[in-house]
């Protein structure tokens, strides 16, 4: 029997290498006898997104349909080979229904593992990071990783909001030139120390994914009243973000989404 269809049934954790080997085996056996029909039906329904679980999923991530505070989680879960349901909630549903009130902590993302719900994106990122070897084992590197993640979370949380667009723009100008710049300067300094590498050791960690997330959001104009040119004063951060985009971790994840 095709080991890959077995894997899809039982949803165990598997490595990226196992998946592609199984894929090759699968393609060649399916040319053979009668049982190929069974594989075909099965493979057609799963080939597009081998790691997305759609039913009775052990791991369910719920967030909006965007990168935001969940992309690093998605990338880490994929890298860990953990099949998960990537549940995306429409923002209109979130605000119009009881969904927000009924969600533990009244915010997204939330992660469900073995039926138990966990909140707080960074806590979830760290779990997924540990599962995918994208979280440092060394105490001081882990502390630096945590620090960078927390810096971005704090910057986002403290970002001024105002229903009046002009007031919001003014508040954000002060913010981005003041407290936010202090924090970005610090992360930029860490990025400089990384040389041509990553923040917390040899490989990409969730700390680097958080840098990428912030740079990506601002460069795409998704940080209201803070233009893409804001990043020009943090060249090391921009360079690090580019290195993340060129990494195997990043490329593999987005290649899997493109299928």
């Amino acid at each position: 029997e095709d080991p890959r269809s077995q894997r899809a049934l039982t949803c165990p954790a598997s490595s990226a290498r196992d998946r592609s080997a199984a894929g090759m085996m699968h393609r060649s056996t399916h040319l053979l006898a009668l049982s190929a029909a069974l594989f075909t039906v099965f493979s057609l329904s799963h080939a597009a997104d081998p790691e997305t679980c759609t039913k009775d999923c052990n791991v369910v991530l719920t967030y909006f349909d965007g990168a935001g505070r969940a992309e690093a989680i998605r990338i880490a879960l994929f890298t860990a080979g953990i099949p998960f349901e990537d549940k995306r909630v429409d923002y209109s549903v979130w605000s119009a229904s009881n969904l927000k009130a009924d969600t533990p902590g009244q915010a997204l993302p939330v992660l469900s593992v073995d039926g138990v719900v966990y909140t707080q994106s960074l806590a979830i990122q760290r779990w997924a990071g540990r599962k995918s070897s994208m979280y440092p084992e060394d105490d001081k590197l882990a502390m630096r990783c945590d620090e960078v993640m927390d810096i971005f979370a704090e910057v986002l949380t403290k970002t001024p909001q105002d229903p009046d667009a002009e007031k919001k723009a003014a508040l954000r100008k002060t913010y981005s030139e003041g407290p936010m710049k202090v924090k970005m300067d610090l992360v930029n300094k860490y990025a400089e120390s990384a040389g041509g590498g990553f923040l917390c050791g040899d490989g990409v960690t969730i700390a680097d994914l958080n840098v990428w997330g912030a740079v990506d959001m601002i460069s795409k104009g998704n940080f209201d009243h803070v233009p893409a040119t804001y990043l020009d004063q943090f060249p090391a951060m921009k360079a690090l973000s580019k290195r993340v985009e060129e990494s195997a971790v990043f490329k593999d994840y987005y290649a899997s989404k493109a299928k």
């Binding site: 533990p104 902590g105 009244q106 992660l111 593992v113 073995d114 138990v116 966990y118 909140t119 707080q120 960074l122 806590a123 979830i124 760290r126 779990w127 540990r130 599962k131 105490d139 001081k140 882990a142 502390m143 630096r144 945590d146 620090e147 993640m149 927390d150 810096i151 979370a153 704090e154 949380t157 403290k158 407290p179 202090v182 924090k183 610090l186 300094k189």
Partner: protein, 222 residues
Amino acid sequence: ERSAACQVAKLVCVLKVASMSNITLKYFDGGGRGEAIRIALWHGGIQFTDERFTYDQWKEIKPTIPGGAVPVLEVDGKTFTQSAALLRYAGRRSGLYPEDLVEAMRCDEVLDIVSEVLTKTPQDADVEVKKAKRAEYAAGPMKGKMGLLGSYAEQSGPDGFIAGKSFTIADLVLESTVGMFESGNFDHVASDYCEQWPALVALAKRIRAHDIVAKWAASKAK
């Protein structure tokens, strides 16, 4: 004879210190976001310089601090910021951080919930505006988050702790938070605010009675 023993003891002490990390914690002279770090380092027998300053001194010290906020931890010449990051480091080194990954996730989640509750607390120069905003906050978003902590306290049962079976840094932070309300240190929110979550209050009591916390309090009293 005693002096020779003293010399040997001093030598051993110096050698011990020389082989350990050089750690300095910088924070205000008070609880807040620094106390749990102090307790964890102390519990782990980790030598550190506990550099404390007053709010008056802060103005001069602030420009020298990366990130512009404290606590910060200096370890072997490198500075680290963000209280939860420092606390996790201290917790890992002192056996107060879960080894089990989902328990660690819950521990992390609790730290972040508390941090978010504090960070989003409304501030306003106008006392009446601040009072009104905080009333809304306490009846709304904060209630949702504290209620979630209350549900975790319930789930942990009469002998458990907030992240699971073992005592962790999340418990230190939780007790400090409940204590803040109970001692009236959360402006414009009544000191009995947490009583709507009996399991939370009971857990805070249990944490205060825990060996680690009791011994820390006793050591400070000297």
